[in-house]
């Protein structure tokens, strides 16, 4: 059980809540969602509290994250896209901090659960669809008939576009979920090798000596996982921006 790489994803009820037969308990997952929100909000509120004209270290970090997301959104969705800035910024910070908190040993990774990433992806796609239809009406369906394609090819292109549109929430959520899940499993497996090798009987002195190899691997993977944690938050944000661009400019 100790080296079981799956047990780290277990949901544990901390405060059982049940409403109409529906289990709405406050779980470890919920606890870390609260922690993520608290960290993001605290960081941004405290760092910008001074409103320094010349930013300090923390304020600089807050401004950097602001401009980073703003530039990402502006470059893919234009200035009109800035109306979605609070959403995109919240998504980026939530995913990034949730991923990074998950890097602490024994901490729960909120984004390693498909339902969470899928809910976030549906929030994005829902925003795209609601805003797209509200702003462009049926013209939003032009999304499925790209400009410059001969009408004769529409019977081929349109189904492809529809399938690609429908697969967006799946790919958006599975990409994040799978990256976090796989990374944490891999880390756990290699870390498990270390303890197994040390504890292994019959290897004698060789067990602890060879265990250095998976230990080194674990260290390297930890570094990689930090990169993945940032990269996946960024990828999620960039794709969100591109989908929002579709809502703003359906005829691409």
């Amino acid at each position: 059980m100790a080296n079981d790489p799956i047990s780290q994803f277990k949901i544990i009820n901390l405060v059982p809540i049940e409403v109409g037969g529906l289990d709405l308990s406050f779980t470890n997952s919920a606890l870390f969602m609260v922690a993520t929100t608290a960290v993001v909000a605290t960081f941004l509120m405290l760092s910008t509290g001074g409103r320094g004209l010349v930013p300090g270290r923390w304020q600089s970090l807050a401004e950097m994250s602001y401009e980073f997301v703003a530039n990402t959104l502006r470059s893919s969705a234009g200035n009109e896209g800035m109306r979605f800035f609070p959403l995109v910024f919240s998504l980026f910070m939530f995913v990034l901090i949730a991923n990074l908190i998950g890097m602490f040993p024994y901490f729960f990774t909120v984004t390693s659960h498909l339902i969470v990433t899928f809910a976030l992806a549906m929030l994005v796609i829902g925003t795209v669809m609601i805003y797209g239809f509200a702003k462009h009406g049926l013209k939003f369906l032009k999304l499925f008939t790209p400009d410059g394609v001969p009408p004769a090819l529409f019977f081929l292109v349109t189904p492809i576009e529809i399938i690609s549109f429908l697969s967006r929430p799946v790919s958006l959520s599975v990409r994040l979920f799978a990256n976090m899940l796989a990374g944490h499993i891999t880390l756990k497996v290699f870390a498990g090798f270390v303890t197994s090798l040390i504890a292994a009987e019959g290897l004698g002195i060789f067990g602890p000596m060879v265990s250095i190899l998976p230990l080194a691997m674990t260290v390297a993977l930890t570094g990689l996982e930090f990169l993945v944690a940032f990269l996946q938050a960024y990828v999620f944000t960039v794709l969100t921006c591109m989908y929002l661009n579709d809502a703003l400019h359906p005829s691409h």
Partner: protein, 183 residues
């Protein structure tokens, strides 16, 4: 196994209260409702804080800075222009002063020259007057002398004639003879 006990006592890994033991946790549907609810609550709260407080504050800070920098640059440009104008004014004043100095020097030179000229002319005039006066006096003296010469000649002639012929000529004859001789 020391690590084992650490693992099993850690909060996230205790399987005791797991929802459906045996299923892969991310695919355990019994946890979905709770996760969606708490995600909605926490993410909604985060969105609200971001859109109402944090982001307006950061954008305010960035705008303040942009305005301040733009203002400072404008102020610097204004001061620069002012100093340029001051330099131009200074150079103009310098050029004017230089021109004035030239003028004054020239005027002084001219004045001195004309003074000298005037004084020389006056002196020359005086000299000329004195010369004329002297010449006039010389003429007078000459004339007076010449008149005396006539008298002396008349006297001498009368005495000579008397000695020669023993008879003094008449005054009229003498004068006539002297005047003829002196011509």
């Amino acid at each position: 196994m020391a690590t084992t006990s650490a693992d099993t006592t850690s909060g996230t890994q205790v399987p005791a209260d797991a929802h459906s033991p045996g299923t892969f946790p991310p695919f355990d549907g019994t946890t979905y409702a709770s996760q969606i609810l708490w995600l909605a609550i926490t993410f909604g709260l985060l969105y609200w804080i971001m859109s109402k407080v944090a982001l307006p504050r950061i954008s305010g800070i960035l705008e303040d800075r942009r305005d301040r920098i733009a203002g400072d640059i404008a102020e610097a440009n204004r001061l620069n222009e002012e100093s340029n104008a001051a330099i131009a004014a200074y150079e103009q004043a310098l050029a004017e002063a230089r021109a004035n100095a030239h003028k004054i020097a020239q005027e002084t030179r001219d004045k001195l020259k004309s003074d000298v000229e005037a004084r020389r002319a006056a002196t020359e005039g005086e000299l000329a007057a004195k010369l004329a006066e002297a010449e006039a006096r010389i003429g007078d003296v000459k004339r007076a002398a010449l008149e005396n010469v006539g008298e002396i000649a008349t006297g001498t002639t009368s005495e000579l004639v008397e000695a020669l012929i023993g008879k003094a000529p008449t005054k009229t004859e003498l004068t006539k003879a002297v005047e003829t001789a002196m011509k």
